[in-house]
């Protein structure tokens, strides 16, 4: 099933064959011609299979299979037959003769590739021949790549073969970089060349401490190259994708960011900076009053995916009510071990305690764009603004401006209004991708709110912010109250991360279900007024929320049937279900 640019020549599964209206006469002529062709084809195929069966590994085998592969290079078994022939002849022929045969094979392959430059089989066979030939001429191969890339500069088979040749013959990588520069100069819109640069730079100018692994001064020069390209043709996506890479995104260092201990739920929740899988290179350990605690770490939902949040259910009586406890959590991976929150104290009268790692203001989510120094980004923003004045409706320009503004000002203090305006414009000029832009906007908004909070804030207000989705809910693990009303949310699945949540306002969203809330076991007050909940079964999700006292459901289609409210009430004894719009102030 996995066939891409694979269907050429005689093949039925073909790209770009135009349906042509023909007369009955023409059809008959074509049928006759095809009948003839098929006869030849079948006879040829039969002959090749017969020779192979008889293990006749000779020049005639090459000739017969070559005739068919010349028209259809995708008959993979015939390439295999040719390889068998060459392997057989390796011991039987003189080196000079073998050299000649394999050289002929290279010429044959060139002819095939001219007709079908995207044949996987032919390109792979060329690698085989170059490995088998007694005296390979790699210089000629590089030249061949140049020729083919001149014909089609996006032929990824040829680019891959080129990288193979470069690797085998130790071509100087600086020359390869030079080659991509030439290609880009002759046509900026050359995604393959930009791609190759992204692979070459970290090898030629490595800097392992850098998020994109390239030396800063080299990156600055690359910015110039890109700028040249985007000013020449601001609609060309290749350069913009490349520029996004230059702006960089770093891998976060793995560390414990937050630990929360709950006495009555008898459990500890840990937030990590990156998703991991416990037991696969990483493990967390807990000790209470220096005694190690036995238990199995799990994700909140029981999902088997990598996660940033991990929970351990403590054995009974691990945290007795009347006793002070000292809790230590340690994260270990294959290489190093970080102790964290040593001596986190849970006092006798406390229900819960927590500790949060210190972060430099504005640094928690900035890894998306952190490669370039702030001064570089400010400069970039300056020139992009210039471009914007020339191209006010260019989506690439708008999006890049947005990213730069966000990177320079993670808390949205400086550019808040401009960001908002840019997002609106972006969604208007590129309506096909408006959902992407709204989600990005939601992400940035949530980041800015979380960045500006310190860890003591457990009450988050995100009402009426135009949110289309939720991001970074794992960072809200300590939040006890959140107002998400009057947004455009369609799913609250990720709210399961909010393990301390007591009060949740979801009024005036677009929710049809409440999936995820089953895991918010502390929830006492929930309002979902004016959503799109139709089925009473949706509320089954809340059965595990045993502390739930108040649930407001007014304004949902489900309320149309009076009986439904009674059914929802039955979820737990102390639950009060409100289905009147004005009963909550």
């Amino acid at each position: 099933m996995v066939w891409f640019e694979h269907y050429f020549g005689l093949c039925i599964v073909q790209h770009g064959r135009i349906k042509v209206k023909t007369t009955a006469e023409q059809q008959e002529a074509k049928r006759k011609e095809r009948e003839k062709k098929l006869k030849i084809y079948n006879a040829g195929t039969e002959a090749v299979f017969q020779k192979r069966k008889n293990k006749e590994f000779d020049e005639e085998g090459l000739k017969l299979s070559g005739e068919l592969l010349g028209v259809n290079p995708d008959i993979y078994s015939f390439w295999n037959f040719r390889r068998e022939i060459f392997i057989d002849l390796q011991d039987k022929r003189e080196e000079a003769e073998l050299q000649k045969l394999l050289q002929d094979e290279l010429h044959f392959l060139e002819a095939c590739l001219k007709v079908n430059p995207k044949s996987y089989g032919a390109w792979h066979h060329r690698c085989f021949v170059m490995d088998a030939i007694p005296e390979p001429d790699w210089g000629r191969e590089l030249h061949l790549c140049n020729t083919f890339l001149n014909l089609d500069e996006r032929n990824f088979h040829c680019w891959d073969y080129r990288r193979h040749v470069v690797l085998r013959s130790n071509v100087n990588l600086d020359e390869e970089l030079q080659y991509t520069t030439q290609k880009i100069q002759s046509n900026f819109s050359n995604y393959s060349s930009w791609h190759y640069r992204s692979k070459l730079l970290p090898v030629i100018h490595p800097d392992s401490s850098h998020p994109v692994a390239v030396q800063e001064d080299v990156l600055l020069k690359e910015f110039e190259v890109v700028q040249n390209a985007v000013f020449t043709d601001p609609d060309d996506q290749s350069a913009w994708f490349y520029q996004r890479w230059l702006l960089g995104r770093g891998q976060k260092k793995l560390q414990i960011c937050c630990v929360h201990v709950s006495r009555d739920l008898q459990r500890i929740v840990v937030l990590l900076s990156r998703p991991v899988m416990m037991g696969q290179g990483h493990c967390l350990t807990v000790s209470i009053d220096t005694t190690p605690v036995a238990g199995k770490w799990r994700t909140i939902t029981g999902s088997r995916m990598y996660s940033t949040l991990w929970v351990i259910d403590l054995p009974d009586q691990s945290l007795p009510v009347d006793k002070q406890a000292s809790i230590a959590v340690t994260l270990m991976d294959d290489r190093y071990c970080t102790k964290f929150s040593e001596g986190l104290q849970l006092m006798p009268d406390q229900e819960e305690t927590w500790a949060v790692a210190e972060f430099k203001q504005g640094s928690r989510f900035s890894t998306e764009l952190s490669a370039a120094a702030t001064s570089t980004m400010a400069q970039e923003l300056e020139s992009i603004r210039e471009l914007q004045s020339l191209e006010p409706n260019n989506k690439w320009v708008l999006l890049t401006m947005i990213h730069l503004m966000k990177a320079i000002d993670p808390e949205h203090t400086k550019y808040a209004a401009e960001l908002e305006e840019s997002f609106n414009k972006l969604a208007a000029v590129d309506t096909m991708r408006k959902s992407y832009y709204w989600d990005l906007r939601s992400k940035f908004l949530i980041e800015s709110v979380l960045e500006s909070h310190d860890s003591k804030v457990r009450d988050v207000k995100l009402c009426q912010r135009g949110l289309s989705c939720l991001y970074h809910t794992d960072w809200m693990v300590l939040v006890t109250s959140i107002d998400l009303s009057q947004n455009y949310l369609k799913s609250v699945r990720s709210l399961s991360d909010l393990q301390c949540l007591r009060s949740l306002n979801l009024d005036n969203n677009q929710l049809a279900d409440l999936q995820g809330l089953a895991f918010c076991r502390r929830l006492t007050d929930l309002s979902v007024k004016n959503n799109s909940i139709c089925n009473v079964e949706v509320f089954e999700e809340l059965r595990t929320c045993v502390f739930l006292k108040k649930l407001s459901v007014a304004g949902n289609p489900v309320c149309a049937i009076e009986d439904n409210v009674t059914k929802i009430c039955a979820l737990n004894k102390s639950l009060q279900v409100v289905d009147e719009q004005d009963s909550i102030g």
Partner: protein
Amino acid sequence: MKESSVLPPRIEPAYSFPLNCSTNLAKGKFPPVCNRRGKMHVCNPCYLVSEDHASPVLLWDAYVFNSKGTPIKDVVIPDSAQKSLLLQKHCDYIASYGSKKDDYEYCITEYLRMSGMYWGLTVMDLMGQLNRMDKDQVLQFIQQCQHECGGISASIGHDPHLLYTLSAIQILTLYDAVDMVNVEKVVEYVRSLQQDDGSFYGDKWGEVDTRFSFCAVACLSLLGRLDAIDVDTTVEFVVTCMNFDGGFGCRPGSESHAGQIYCCVGTLAITGNLHHINADLLGWWLCERQLPSGGLNGRPEKMPDVCYSWWVLASLKIIGKIHWIDKEKLEKFILACQDEETGGVSDRPGNIVDPFHTLFGVCGLSLLGNETIKPVNPVYCMPEDVIQRAGIRLELL
């Protein structure tokens, strides 16, 4: 509107450009076509002279120019294009496709027969008419294609390969009949193709490609035997094929390509390693594949194609970002690729249909929510109920 004299007379399409692009005429080479809201839209319908050099045919492939004169490769969907799904016609097309065993096109595609059968059978199941296919004949054929080494070939007489081994296992899963082949040997064959770096050869001849990583992992997971390979290094290899744009290529260093991305994202989904993906970055690249016509291409600056629409759409579904493309427009594009006379779906409007694009067109519509088609599993490209029956539960983003 002046027509360039070198071109044959144009069959007038109903031009409706969703694009809003100003242009300076690219060196006068291309005829202006229409002028809306004061802005010039230029396109160059390509003409193809048919074999007898008599009747020129209009290709819907148009070149639309952006403000700097760079052509945007896309097609124009005529207003007359088909707008409803011709399900029964597609069923009839597939059912009759395999029955003409001495047909020219059928014969010369023997080297991919196993995959061809998978495309046809899967799309028939999705359309609820799998019972029209000759099950016994299919199963017997697959049995005959298993080799001593355990691998399965495209057809009798051809060599075993991972591509066809996966197709065969997919068909057997469809029929709930994996025991028809020697499963232990299949597992052994797949295992034998894994290399130290975690990559997979496609067959004993040593071509390495992330497509084969997907084939191996998909095949073994359908057989419930992922334990037979080193999953950690499999994942490591796929991750080394990740690129600056968040996408994936054939091998480390290769350019991102929607088909390759589908294979890598699928491999990571099956092995529970989707966290390696930067969903925001990759999702952005993927939704930028959608062109003004609504169709999706497989790489920047390429033509839209129904099958690429599938690779992109399925990948977006797996990473939880399917809403980032314009569903209505894509649906319109796929429906326009149907052939009203013969049934079946082609790569682009007006082209010749084939089972391959028929499957991916129907799968695309299923992912877009068309309820007359069975839900399709975005990772395996098989009916969701079949995947459930096989006991596979995947967590997507």
